[in-house]
């Protein structure tokens, strides 16, 4: 049975749920339960986040002085490269889809699991194998090519452990592809009766769009890195001009994936925000179909803008004009989303709980990050801003200020569902604000540094750039605190947190109709959906002041 409030008004954990259904390390390492696999991913992505974060800290400390003495130039070049590789491929790309997506998609659509649970587990193992190759590369000489692996530096000139690293990323790509495949099939074929496409939560739409990018883009980076690796190992000439190859071809192939990859990193976070805002404003999202449609639009248009990373390679001016125009087009759906989220707040009943703070923080930071993209898409400005700290600030605003905030906010929002417990709200709010302040202090000065002309990937810089670098490092220390706090109290809450009950917020999604934590098979009985998403006004089961029905006790279990 499900949780019922006890006499004191609090809750007890359900007697049986996915965490205690079976015991022992084998039951975890050989699980096919999407919820357990999500937690396996949670642990591994957090591990890579630590690695990437350590490298970032070292970078910022080194850059306190113009001729940094913390590390040698060779080591510095390895630090920023490995920071990028660890964060992008092993933290950001998997994070929301593999942790929250895996956990929630079946619950949100009323299914017992994903379409291919064993392939889901395989995805995680492939990720681990890829990760091992990359860690091996880090440990045996490191990697100093930049995460972009431009040739012929990476394929001919670099003396670092390039081959295991590209092999590792190649392997990891299959983890992404299989996850995307799993999501697409699941969303198409396993929706519960009554769960039509336009009743799907926007989180699901976001992951559907992301999965399109997973399956279309990832194979291209796979083959590109394979060719670059072969070139390096066998002295072939695909991208080496001395042997008749073309370094620009590498860039085209690389960016064909790596640009859509940035949409892989942000679309799921946007999906999280689209769940949080209606929940904590207690009203439907403004413009549901526009938000759903804009996710698909971003995924599609995102495949046509890659060469905006190459405006200054000598590519034809006609190509540059085309890609600049398309890059402006891809910005429009994101703008639409931002206006829609903001409008959702209008006449809402807004609570200031932690997930909402993350949601608003996301809007603010994504706003700045996205708007600064307009500067870079502008051909005339990009001549000046290309490869400067302006670019670094731009993408960190989106990837950290946007995607990571979405991830951490989502973890908080669904924490009660995942663990059955609540985190300490006061501490959580403090951490959210700390994160927001620290982030801005770290990265805003970098916009200015970029316009002043400070190039990226510099281990030392002219003294006139020092003031802003110091500001940035100071901010980074606050940012680090903002990340450490949740890691501590979320872990603490797993044992000592207040029991949450099925729907503490309450929220309207199907996942909230299950116990917290849910049963292994999610639903006792396959649900039948006959309500619209975020329809607080017509949900009498949530215990809110809805007209036309007496106030009920908060929902318990899956009625």
């Amino acid at each position: 049975m499900s949780t019922t409030p006890n006499s004191a008004g609090g809750y007890q954990l359900p007697r049986e749920h996915y965490l205690n259904a079976t015991y022992g390390i084998r039951s975890w390492l050989l699980t096919t339960d999407h919820k357990r696999i999500a937690l396996l991913y949670l642990i591994s992505v957090t591990f890579f986040f630590f690695i990437g974060g350590t490298f970032a800290s070292m970078i910022r400390i080194h850059l306190l002085t113009p001729n940094g003495y913390l590390v040698t130039p060779e080591t510095y070049n390895k630090l920023f490269t490995m920071h990028g590789v660890a964060m992008i491929f092993f933290f950001l790309i998997p994070s929301i889809p593999a942790v929250l997506g895996n956990f929630l998609i079946p619950l949100m659509i009323g299914a017992k699991d994903l379409a291919f649970p064993k392939i889901n587990l395989l995805s995680w193992y492939i990720y681990l194998v890829g990760g091992c190759f990359v860690l091996y590369s880090f440990a045996t000489g490191g990697l100093d090519t930049g995460w972009t692996f431009y040739t012929p530096l990476s394929s001919v000139y670099s003396n670092s452990a390039v081959t295991p690293a590209v092999l590792g990323i190649f392997i990891n790509g299959f983890s992404s592809i299989l996850t995307g495949l799993n999501f697409i099939v699941t969303i198409h074929t396993m929706r519960a009766p009554g769960m039509t496409w336009f009743r799907l939560p926007l989180f699901v739409w976001a992951h559907y769009a992301t999965s399109i990018i997973f399956i279309l883009g990832t194979p291209v980076i796979a083959i590109t890195l394979l060719l670059a690796g072969l070139e390096r190992m066998l002295h072939l000439g695909f991208f080496n001009p001395v042997l008749g190859g073309d370094p620009i071809l590498f860039q085209h192939l690389f960016w064909f994936y790596s640009h859509p990859a940035v949409y892989i990193m942000i679309l799921p976070a946007m999906g999280v925000i689209s769940e949080i805002i209606p929940t904590f404003a207690r009203k439907p999202i403004f413009g549901y179909s526009f938000i759903a449609g804009s996710s698909i639009a971003i995924a599609v248009i995102g495949f046509f803008v890659w060469a905006h990373h190459m405006f200054l390679t000598g590519e034809s001016a006609y190509a540059a004009l085309t890609f600049s125009l398309l890059s402006y087009l891809v910005a429009i759906p994101s703008a639409v989303k931002t206006f829609n989220w903001t409008s959702t707040l209008y006449k809402g009943s807004i609570s200031w709980e932690t997930p909402m703070l993350y949601g608003l923080g996301f809007i603010g930071l994504f706003l700045i990050g996205g708007l600064t993209g307009l500067f870079l898409a502008c051909l005339g400005l990009d001549i000046h801003l290309h490869d400067t700290y302006f670019v670094i600030a731009h993408f960190h605003y989106i990837m950290v200020g946007g995607a990571v905030m979405g991830y951490v906010g989502g973890l908080h929002f669904w924490w009660p569902k995942i663990t059955g417990r609540l985190y300490p709200e006061g501490l959580a709010k403090t951490a959210a604000v700390t994160l927001f302040i620290g982030f801005n202090l770290t990265f805003f000065p970098q916009f200015i540094l970029g316009y002043l002309g400070m190039p990226r990937r510099y281990h030392s810089y002219p003294p006139e750039f020092q003031v802003f670098n110091v500001m940035s490092t100071a901010g980074a220390s606050i940012l680090a605190l903002g990340y450490l706090l949740p890691m501590i109290y979320l872990t603490w809450s797993m044992r000592y947190g207040k029991i949450a009950g099925p729907n503490p917020w309450p929220a309207t999604g199907l996942e909230w109709k299950t116990d917290s934590p849910p049963l292994t098979e999610n639903f006792d009985v396959t649900p039948e959906v006959n309500w619209e998403p975020y329809d607080f006004d017509n949900r009498h089961d949530l215990g809110l002041d809805v007209k036309g029905a007496p106030s009920l006790a908060p929902a318990h279990g899956d009625d």
Partner: protein, 217 residues
């Protein structure tokens, strides 16, 4: 471990299971198109940049063997399609026979490929292994020829790898078919492996003209 043909736990009913399996294979094949596509793009661009050397190098690979392989593979797609048909009309023995034929043809393909690779090895046309195309010619010519052969081996090698995986799948299918598992109600694995096999065939149908036929005069 579930027996094939029974309902897996995550699905509501067999229809949903079948639909998911089929959609899953189609989505997977889309990823394969993109995977091969990157190399096809690289080859095409390089071919248009170095037409003479690529033409010369292309003429040095055995057209006869390539054509033979094309016929072999297309025939194997036919036998594969026949085994799918046989399952749909319930002729269980025919299913096994056609699967075996497909496997034989696939193995013939791989054998011929092996001969071709051996020839290239003997002629020192394998990049990375004492490569030498035209000893007297310029550095550029040899470099561009090496580019051709790098792509030749990468593309046909990746294709052959997919064939080997296909052969493995066929062996598994033959085993299951031998036990009479496939009939009108249930032939999903045969259908899906069939899709995969046809895809691998189509890749070859693009590879063959691109590598063997252009500039062949």
């Amino acid at each position: 471990m579930h027996r094939t043909g029974e309902l897996y736990g995550q699905f509501e009913n067999l229809d949903q299971q079948r639909e998911s399996a089929s959609l899953g294979m189609w989505v997977f094949l889309v990823t394969e198109v993109l995977f091969f596509g990157g190399m096809f793009m690289t080859y095409t661009l390089n071919r248009s940049q170095y037409p003479e050397v690529f033409g010369e190098a292309s003429r040095s690979i055995n057209l006869g063997l390539g054509a033979l392989n094309t016929v072999v593979l297309i025939t194997s797609s036919l036998t594969m399609a026949m085994s799918v048909w046989a399952a749909q009309v319930g002729k269980k023995q025919l299913v096994t026979i056609f699967l075996i034929l497909t496997l034989i043809l696939g193995t013939v393909f791989l054998g011929v490929k092996g001969i071709e690779y051996h020839d290239k090895f003997v002629e020192h046309h394998v990049p990375g292994l004492n490569f030498s195309f035209e000893p007297g010619a310029s550095v550029a010519t040899n470099a561009h020829a090496q580019l051709f052969f790098s792509l030749y081996f990468a593309m046909t090698g990746l294709h052959a790898l997919h064939m080997i995986i296909g052969a493995g799948l066929l062996i598994w299918l033959i085993k299951e078919s031998f036990r009479g598992r496939f009939n009108q109600e249930y032939s999903t694995p045969v259908d899906l492996v069939g899709l995969y096999w046809h895809f691998v065939d189509i890749v070859w149908i693009f590879l063959f003209p691109l590598l063997y036929l252009i500039d062949r005069h």
